[in-house]
Symmetry: C2
C-alpha cells in the first residue's frame, strides 16, 4: 500500500493437500488487507496460482512468491520481523510499538514520524523453529487463545494499518464489486455503470441492486474463492 515501505507476509511451512486452503486464505487475506507481497513455501504452488488469479481479476499491485529458503528469509530480512503466535505479547499492547517501528505512527505536533521500514509478518503453518521466536522483533498474539492463523493475520493487519487498508484502491482490475445493502453487483473495473460511486468509498446510501452487470443468480459463493482442491 505504500511506495516506501513494503509489508510482506511469509507463510511459514505448508503441507500440500492438507494446508492448501489455509495457505490460499493466508495469501488472499494478505492481499485484501493491505500487504504488498506474500511468500509461500515452494511446495504451495497451487495456492500461489489461486492468489495470482484473484489478483489478475480483482487488481493489485500484489506479488506472490514461492521460495524454498524460509529460514533464510526470516534471518536476513532487513526490517522489522513480526511473528504471529498465540504465545506472544498481546496485539493490543504492542501494535503501537510496531507501528512506530515501521514509521506508521502519526507524528506528534512537534515530533517527527519514524522513517519507513519494511515489515515481515510471519504466519506459522507447520511447527516453526524456536529460532523464529528469537529472531522476531515482536512475537504477537491476537488473543492468547488457539484459533486461526488467518483470523490472527486479519486482525493484525487491520490494526497495523488502523483501518486505512479498507480504503485502498486497486489497479489493473478486470472487475469490481459495488458495495450495497442488498445486492450482488459486479461491474467492469474500467466501465463503471454507476459512475457516481467511488472506487472504495461507500456513500452510506442503501442502493438496491439494479441487476445491471449483476451476478445475482440467487446463489452466492460468499467471500471464499474456489481454490480447486
Amino acid at each position: 500500500m505504500n511506495e516506501t515501505r513494503e509489508v510482506v507476509v511469509l507463510r511459514y511451512g505448508h503441507r500440500p493437500g492438507r494446508d492448501d486452503r489455509m495457505t490460499t486464505h493466508v495469501g488472499l487475506t494478505a492481499r485484501a488487507l493491505g500487504a504488498d507481497r506474500v511468500i509461500f513455501p515452494d511446495n504451495a504452488g497451487q495456492s500461489a496460482e489461486t492468489v495470482r488469479d484473484i489478483t489478475g481479476r480483482f487488481g493489485g499491485p500484489f506479488a506472490v512468491e514461492l521460495r524454498e529458503d524460509q529460514k533464510a528469509i526470516v534471518r536476513d530480512f532487513e526490517g522489522v520481523v513480526v511473528h504471529l503466535t498465540m504465545y506472544g505479547e498481546q496485539v493490543q499492547d504492542v501494535a503501537g510499538a510496531i507501528r512506530e517501528a515501521v514509521g506508521l505512527d502519526e507524528p506528534d505536533v512537534l515530533g517527527e514520524a519514524s522513517a519507513p521500514r519494511d515489515l515481515l509478518v510471519v504466519v506459522g503453518g507447520e511447527k516453526v523453529p524456536w529460532a523464529l521466536y528469537e529472531r522476531a522483533d515482536f512475537n504477537v498474539g491476537v488473543t492468547n487463545q488457539p484459533h486461526s492463523e488467518v483470523a490472527g493475520l486479519a486482525v493484525f493487519l487491520d490494526r497495523l494499518f488502523d483501518g486505512a487498508e479498507l480504503d485502498r484502491e486497486w489497479a489493473d482490475a478486470d472487475r469490481r464489486v459495488v458495495p450495497e445493502a442488498t445486492g450482488k453487483t459486479v461491474v467492469d473495473a474500467d466501465g463503471d455503470s454507476e459512475g457516481t460511486r467511488g472506487d472504495s468509498e461507500g456513500d452510506g446510501e442503501d442502493s438496491e441492486g439494479d441487476g445491471e452487470d449483476s451476478e445475482g443468480d440467487g446463489e452466492d459463493e460468499s467471500d471464499e474463492p474456489d481454490d480447486r482442491d
Copy 2:
C-alpha cells in the same frame, strides 16, 4: 461476553471433508473473538468436537450447536441479523450502525444507550440462498475483495466489540497461555506460577520464558489447533 446480549455465529453450509478446517476455524475464531455461541450445520460434527475440546481446555463460556435448520434459524432469529459477504456494504461504513442496533454504542452524555439486542452473524460456506440477503438487516463486506470468511469474521468481531473482546476473561479453563515477548509459557489456569501477571492484561514487560510449566520444546504448533482431518 455479555449477560444480556448474545452474539451468535452461524456457519451457513458445510461440505464434510473439504470444509472441515475452515468450519473449525470459523468456530474457534468466533470463540476467541468474543461470540457466545456458534451454530454449525449438523454434518459438521467433527468441527464441533474440536471447538468443544478447545473450550474444555482453554475455557468459556462458549456454546457449540449442531443444527439442521439453517434457513429457519435465520428466518426466525429474534434480533439483528448480519450477513458477511463480499457484496455487502463496507464494514467501516456500517459498524457504527450495527453497534447501535444491538446496544453496543456508547451513550452520549445526555443520551441513552440502545437496549441490548441479540446478534446473529451469518458466515457463508457453500452457496447461500438469495433470501439470506433479503432477510439480513445488514449485508456487510470486510473489503469487497474475495478473501477468507475466517478473516472477515475476525475483523468484523474485532470492530463490533471495538477491541474489548481481546480483554475478556475465561472461566473453567484448564490452562492459560502467558503472553510474553519471547517464550511459550502455559500455566495451570488455577495455579498461576506468575501471580503478578493479570489474566488478560499485558504489563508491557519483556518477560523471558523461565521454562516453568513451559511447553517450549523448540517447536511450535502456531495458533492452529489440530483438527484431526
